[in-house]
Assembly symmetry: C2
Homo-oligomer: 397 residues x 2
């Protein structure tokens, strides 16, 4: 696999090691350290059942003084009570002792099995090793990205050089998640790093917006996990971006987060297709988002996509039960650019040719005009395969 390799954002060091949390022996402790205080922001799961590391990160962001992010995979440290919280704090303390900062300057993420105590002896060794191996080279960044994976088939990262107000900055991001969300094995985590100078509350606002446009618009199975965490760290020094340069950065961040989020869907458990549901003509953007989400979540739409079946009845009826208004007499549907249903009337089309097209492409575009106002949104979802069902119905206890 050839990875793109622009420069990494200045000021960060990386490592990923295997300490034995995963029975497979794969990397399971990831460390990101900055040489000085950096700006940090976070967006977290909306689940009411929240893992200990999420509670800790929530309390510590936004911040102007972050020094490190430590992540373990293979164990979610969720539903683990007070001892789980103690363990999360201990992980931060161990990193802080190595880095030479206060433990409150360390962020922590965990992903994996729910309800099991963390193997703290192994993690202590892992943190020690990870600190010893810190480096700012590309190989170390890849190690850190690998060490946060669980059921993922592929490493998920995006790197870009962005130009804002005539100056160029680097952004590098890593993510994990093969169900957007499958709480037993795989939850969604992502870290975005940049050397663009940003202020922390600004960071928090733009990250929340970016999440709404990206990670909150992808679904594998609609199951919101206990651990979902998205972090943005900025090591940039000097005057924070503002005005047009800031807007340039925001646009690039949104785009990068969408690219990263789509990687989660493409690697969704058992997924063979990614459907992109574009909704236009809704009452407003949030109504459009709700309609797109409802279509993308329907098991009948998902299985039709799996089978390469241009089964428009399933799609328009899913739009019809979304809890946002549509005008059935003005509803128009295209699949992969082919008009199928025009202002409430079925059109004749070459179903075999369209099916062939749907099967041949990983991406299946669903374009739905619902005939009201100008609200629009896009939502990305994996299809539903027998492999998903088999994978998730295997006896795991």
């Amino acid at each position: 696999m050839s990875e793109p390799a622009p420069s990494l954002p200045a000021g960060f060091q990386f490592s990923g090691v295997a300490c034995g949390i995963k029975a497979s022996g794969k990397k399971d402790v990831s460390l990101i350290v900055s040489e000085r205080d950096v700006v940090g922001a976070g967006v977290f799961t909306k689940n009411q059942i929240v893992a200990a590391p999420v509670l800790l990160c929530k309390a510590r962001t936004p911040s102007e003084t972050i020094r490190a992010v430590v992540t373990n995979s293979g164990n979610a440290n969720a539903c683990t009570g007070q001892s789980g919280m103690d363990d999360a704090v201990t992980m931060c303390q161990q990193v802080a002792a190595k880095v030479g900062c206060d433990e409150s300057q360390v962020l922590v993420m965990s992903t994996g099995v729910i309800g099991q105590p963390l193997p703290m002896d192994k993690i202590a060794v892992g943190i020690e090793q990870a600190h010893d191996q810190l480096s700012n080279d590309h190989e170390s960044f890849l190690s850190a990205a690998d060490a946060i994976l669980t059921t993922d088939n592929a490493r998920k990262m995006v790197q870009r050089t962005v130009v804002c107000g005539g100056k160029s900055y680097e952004i590098a991001a890593m993510a994990k998640g093969a169900g957007m969300i499958s709480p037993n094995m795989a939850t969604m985590l992502a870290v975005v790093l940049t050397d663009a100078p940003l202020e922390s509350t600004q960071c928090q606002t733009m990250l929340a917006k970016a999440a709404d446009l990206s990670f909150n618009r992808v679904s594998v199975d609609g199951h919101t996990s206990t651990n979902d965490t998205l972090l943005l760290l900025s090591s940039g020094q000097g005057e924070p971006l503002s005005g047009e340069p800031l807007q340039d950065f925001v646009d690039q961040l949104n785009d990068l987060c969408i690219e990263l989020a789509k990687k989660l869907v493409a690697d969704g458990e058992g997924a063979t297709h990614v459907m992109q549901v574009h909704v236009h003509g809704a009452a407003d953007d949030s109504a459009a988002e709700l309609i797109a989400r409802t279509v993308a979540a329907s098991p009948l739409v998902k299985t039709a996509i799996t089978g390469g079946d241009p089964n428009w009845g399933r799609i328009v009826s899913a739009a019809g039960y979304a809890e946002a208004k549509i005008d059935p007499t003005k509803t128009t549907l295209k699949i992969c650019g082919q008009a199928i249903y025009l202002e409430g009337v079925p059109q004749s089309f070459d179903a075999a040719a369209l099916s062939k097209k749907m099967k041949a492409n990983v991406d299946v575009e669903i374009d739905l005009q619902v005939g009201l106002q100008s609200g629009k949104a896009t939502f990305w979802s994996s299809d539903l395969t027998t492999e998903y069902v088999t994978f998730n119905s295997e006896y795991t206890t």
Copy 2:
């Protein structure tokens, strides 16, 4: 198959015939006729894309003057525009001409493929034959119940003798639906007949409530169809029930509708288990219903049930993302009576023994206490199997 055979409600005749809408040659036109005007009420799909027969039935209920219900299976007459509406009216006219009533006294239901014109020549012959074969015997009732089925594996009916205020009445009901809801092939239809004397607006109110407790609390795939219809017809004469006898009837009706609705789930496409999700301790009953529905709809919970996996993390995290409040520190979970998670703390239990129990029983009880007030609700859902995915991802166009 041995069917229970108490008396049928007085005043109704039945038939079911095959007229060739279904390629299989199975029965596809069902007729119920009353010898005089009867009270009728209806509850319908909340989808914004609504089939022609639903629009017609909505306009005609509640009523004190219903004479017949005609149903075809194999074609949903949905997304068929004005010609579809004309066809639905024509079916009513054809029945009315035979029965000797106004066409507005006839209710019509359709179920099957979306977006195809009805084969009206075949249906005309079917209605003629069905009228010729009308009878009040049990065999004819079974024929009528068979003729509304589509992808169902089993006939769905319930018959009961109910005692209200010292008098006994008969109730007989039939239903179809193998996805609660799968708009291409199978939508949910049900007719409940009784000879208990009821008034029409009273009928409408009690039917809506019964639907909320039964058909609105079952799900195979969460996809609300364009055709869902539940009808209640009462041929009872004399003073309508009131006071305690009426309450007795309502209780029995609710119970019967729950029994009928559970048959839909048990016969859900590919289903191997029925999960019964009981939620207690929510802010109110509707919050409890939302939590139960969210747990029952999670593909990860469904696949865990398929695999006989007491995967409690999936269940409590699904409760956690329901859009109704829970108290995570007081949340308690039992599966098949086994306490697994007690006030936010995982309990040790014999996972292998519980798994064996879950696999051995069709019904899997999930009992969730969410630690707030006294709101409670039960929701029934099928599990999710590879057979569901295979069945629904076959190329159908």
